[in-house]
């Protein structure tokens, strides 16, 4: 009986050890690939660097700096559309990174249409911090505020004083605001799709057919809002009064 228990313990420990070492090995491999890609970038071998960054993203690596570096690499390769797309993806994860903001601005300035990403409507303008905090940070802040709120609740059970009651009300208001803010962020990320024009020039049609009237033209790197997808076409809008259909192959989002 004792031997059996020891065997089970040994098996669990060895499995944990193996899995930990596998994770470490995987992390080391990713780090070495990033280092290699960065070296390729510094050696001006931009295509090789882009291939490694793209491969890592395809493997499921999600990191703001990874998208940022890929955006820089595409800028060096002269692919402004892909660069802007990756900068925008990076911005979702690194909303307060100044280098990223500067490079995105620079890339947008290089485009013909010079369209900046939409900041949403009235509610995101009122909740001004929503764009400066990414979704994971929103959730972390929410959890932290939740813990603080319940701690204050427990405190108010022990110390039945008006100060604790006021603290409870304030923390509850902040928690509700954080809930609302996180909901808005989540809604915008899931509903408000932003795309980038990849072709040199795209005719924006009045309906999803090449025979339809061309309403206006967009050029590579133009940032647009993607509203609806239908067969091989997507409905996009640039502003409240400028919208139309473009082929799906001309855009990435």
């Amino acid at each position: 009986m004792k031997t059996k228990k020891l065997f089970i313990l040994w098996a669990i420990l060895s499995t944990m050890l193996i899995s930990t070492s596998q994770v470490e090995a995987q992390e080391n491999d990713i780090s070495s690939q990033i280092t290699l890609a960065n070296e390729f970038y510094h050696e001006k071998n931009y295509q090789a660097a882009a291939d490694i960054f793209e491969k890592l993203i395809d493997q499921g690596e999600t990191n703001g700096f990874l998208y940022y570096n890929l955006g820089n690499t595409y800028m060096r390769l002269g692919d402004t559309g892909s660069a802007i797309l990756n900068y925008l993806r990076a911005q979702l994860l690194l909303p307060r990174n100044e280098n990223l903001d500067a490079n995105l601005r620079y890339a947008i300035n290089q485009t013909q249409d010079q369209l900046s990403p939409s900041r949403g409507g009235l509610i995101p303008s009122l909740l001004f911090w929503v764009h400066s905090i990414n979704l994971i940070e929103h959730f972390e802040i929410l959890v932290l505020l939740n813990i603080i709120f319940w701690c204050i609740c427990i405190g108010s059970l022990y110390y039945r004083k008006s100060l604790w009651k006021s603290l409870k009300k304030i923390s509850m208001a902040i928690l509700l605001l954080a809930f609302f803010s996180t909901g808005i962020k989540y809604y915008f990320l899931s509903k408000h799709k932003i795309g980038v024009i990849m072709d040199k020039k795209v005719d924006v049609k009045s309906d999803h057919n090449t025979q339809n009237v061309t309403l206006f033209e967009l050029h590579e790197g133009a940032i647009i809002a993607v509203n609806q997808e239908e067969s091989e076409w997507v409905h996009i809008s640039v502003s409240t009064d400028k919208s139309g259909w473009i082929p799906i192959k001309s855009i990435d989002y």
Binding site: I30, S31, I34, T35, N38, Y41, G60, E61, T62, N63, G64, F65, L66, Y68, N69, N72, T73, M75, L93, N99, A102, N103, Y106, A107, L135, I136, F139, L142, V143, L144, N146, I147, F149, W150, C151, C153, I154, L157, Y158, S206, V213, T214, L215
Partner: protein, 600 residues
């Protein structure tokens, strides 16, 4: 009072019956269900419209009939009429669906049968033949009650030149429900509205007409021939016919159009002729370099917010371009001030305005300027080229140069901005020139590249972060409430500690070595104290019979009461036995078991 249930039953039966009667679409009063279609006229001109009536009789609330494909007409529903007639106790119901058909082209057309499916049976009407003729040619001096005209300001405009397209409706009778459609080819033109419709009176051949005029500005965006398709005006003409008032004393008495006039509505669709245009390219001769497709008449001014300011401070340079034409297309990007100033451009503001019958406006460009150097600086003149279609020539307008005086800062701080490569005027500072702009470098801290995914582990962590504090709060609240009750409610606290206290005393009794009589008394005392605590009783002087009554009052189960009475009687009998009993562990165990049983 006895009739009440009967009345209730009647109402229960009557109400659904009425509801079924009203709403059931298949409830027919006559087995003869008929579907017929008719029009108010079979021959009409393309300017007129016909009313198609589809009558369904013999059924209440029939389904909407299915119209045949009528692609050569614009079809608009004008409503539904229902009627119920009773002749000699025979009820006849009918529903009429009405549609207005406006022809698109001339010719003979067959309006196919209208179909309806009702409870699996199909009904259909007869086909109707309609002839659409050309409108009668209008003679120059003919007295027409309503007609339309369209015109354009120029038939051979230059590309981007403003063309005013005007639609006019002349009418001498009242018209309602006016609906104008002015289509244009969006691939050839960009459209701008020229304000609201104008209404005025005009006398033509001695007849006064009310004129409604609508204009739009079209900017040709492609060279070559193009056609502006016909505009269409849909309207209802109100014909007023006077009744014979002489014979009607009431009408004469009131002398009011409301009582004397009979109005008749006539739906009309008036279409204009298409207009051909030939858009010309701008002349190559004399085209200035940097020309940006501006066509019209423009003027430009420049001003600065302040002409004298301290180093490190900013001033606002404002360019205002105004005029008639495509002002909205003006762009000012090449200021050539990059060597002297750091420039922060603002978003241009365009304000549209109407000048006579032409569109124009004002576009304001603002730039915040931060000088690189101190001293006297000059903002050189800025030029703008445009093509003037009236003069058939290119024109260049320029702003006046603006002189600025930049004073050194009041403190000792030197200017540390990126400095001009032209004028290194600083006495002791290093001079840096902007040669080019570039992106900022890649991120190289490998430890920052950890993958950030909203994965399962993270979700579990957040769930724990949400639920755990709530759980802790509930536990804490429960504990605090328990403590408060223990302190405030004596009976509750006695009840809560009764078992623990009794068990503790039993343990003490089992390890001590008392006299046999004391042992039995002690045991009896423990049980009585337990009951006293449980029932919140003062003192322990009660017999086994009293215990039974008190426990019964407190809704203890009978078997529990019997067990405790039995044990107490046993202990009492032992207490008064002549033979002394030694300490009995079995009795302690029995008591402990009984207490455990009572706690359940």
């Amino acid at each position: 009072m006895q009739n009440k249930p009967k009345t209730k039953l009647q109402s229960w039966l009557t109400v659904p019956a009425i509801l079924i009667f009203i709403f059931s679409p298949v409830m027919s009063f006559s087995s003869n269900i008929q579907l017929s279609a008719s029009v108010d006229k079979n021959e009409l001109t393309i300017e007129d419209s016909i009313e198609l009536s589809i009558k369904i009789s013999g059924v209440r609330n029939p389904p909407t009939p299915k119209l045949p494909p009528i692609k050569d007409f614009i079809v608009r529903s004008t409503g539904t009429q229902s009627s119920t007639q009773i002749f000699n106790s025979d009820m006849q119901v009918s529903t009429t669906y009405k549609y207005l058909l406006t022809p698109k082209i001339e010719g003979n057309f067959i309006i196919g049968p209208v179909r309806m499916n009702l409870s699996g049976s199909n009904y259909q009407s007869e086909s109707i033949t309609v002839t659409i003729k050309k409108p009668n040619p209008i003679k120059p001096n003919e007295n027409r009650s309503v007609y339309t005209e369209t015109s354009i300001s120029k038939k051979t405009p230059y590309i981007n030149e403003q063309v005013v397209y005007t639609f006019k409706l002349f009418r001498k009778i009242e018209a309602r429900n006016l609906n104008l459609s002015m289509p244009y080819d969006e691939s050839f033109f960009r459209k701008e509205n020229l304000g609201k419709a104008k209404r005025y009176s005009r006398v033509i051949n001695g007849i006064a007409y009310d004129v409604d005029e609508v204009s739009i500005a079209l900017f040709p965006i492609k060279i070559g021939e193009s056609t502006i398709p016909p505009s269409m005006m849909e309207l209802d003409l109100i014909h007023r016919t006077q009744t014979n008032r002489r014979r009607d004393p009431f009408a004469r008495f009131f002398n009011d159009p409301f009582f004397g006039d009979v109005t008749q509505n006539k739906h009309k669709v008036l279409s204009t002729k298409s207009i051909k245009m030939n858009t010309q390219p701008l002349p190559k001769k004399g085209k200035p370099s940097g020309f940006k497709n501006l066509v019209g008449q423009f003027s430009m001014t420049a001003k600065v917010g302040k002409e004298s300011f301290d180093a490190g401070d900013t001033t606002t340079l404002t360019f205002t371009v105004s005029g008639i034409g495509n002002v909205m297309d003006v762009s000012l990007t090449d200021l050539n001030l990059g060597d002297q100033f750091k420039i922060y451009p603002d978003q241009p503001i365009f304000t549209k305005s109407i000048h006579g019958n032409q569109i124009g406006g004002e576009k304001i460009f603002k730039f915040a300027l931060v000088p690189f150097t101190t001293g006297r600086q000059t903002i050189s003149s800025i030029s703008l080229n445009y093509f003037d279609p009236d003069k058939n020539d290119y024109n260049t307008i320029s702003t006046n140069p603006i002189n600025l005086t930049i004073k050194p800062g009041t403190g000792t701080e030197n200017l540390n901005l990126v400095q001009s490569k032209v004028a290194p005027t600083q006495q002791n500072g290093s001079t840096i020139s902007i040669l080019a702009r570039d992106i900022l470098p890649i991120h190289t801290h490998v430890e920052d590249f950890e993958s950030v995914v909203f994965d399962k582990n993270r979700r579990i962590m957040y769930m724990v972060g949400f639920l755990l504090p709530t759980l802790i709060y509930l536990l804490a609240a429960g504990y605090i409430r328990y403590n408060h009750k223990m302190n405030d409610d004596m009976s509750y606290s006695r009840r809560q500690v009764a078992h623990r206290k009794a068990m503790k005393k039993l343990d003490q009794l089992s390890v001590s070595n008392p006299e046999p009589k004391d042992f039995v008394r002690e045991l009896s005392q423990i049980i009585r104290e337990y009951i006293g605590d449980k029932l919140n009783l003062q003192g322990t002087a009660f017999t086994s019979k009293e215990v039974g009554e008190k426990l019964n009052k407190n809704t203890f189960a009978d078997d529990k009461i019997f067990a405790i009475k039995k044990l107490l009687e046993k202990i009492e009998s032992m207490q008064y036995m002549p033979v002394l009993v030694v300490k009995d562990h079995c009795l302690i165990d029995e008591t402990a078991e009984l207490l455990m049983y009572l706690e359940k």
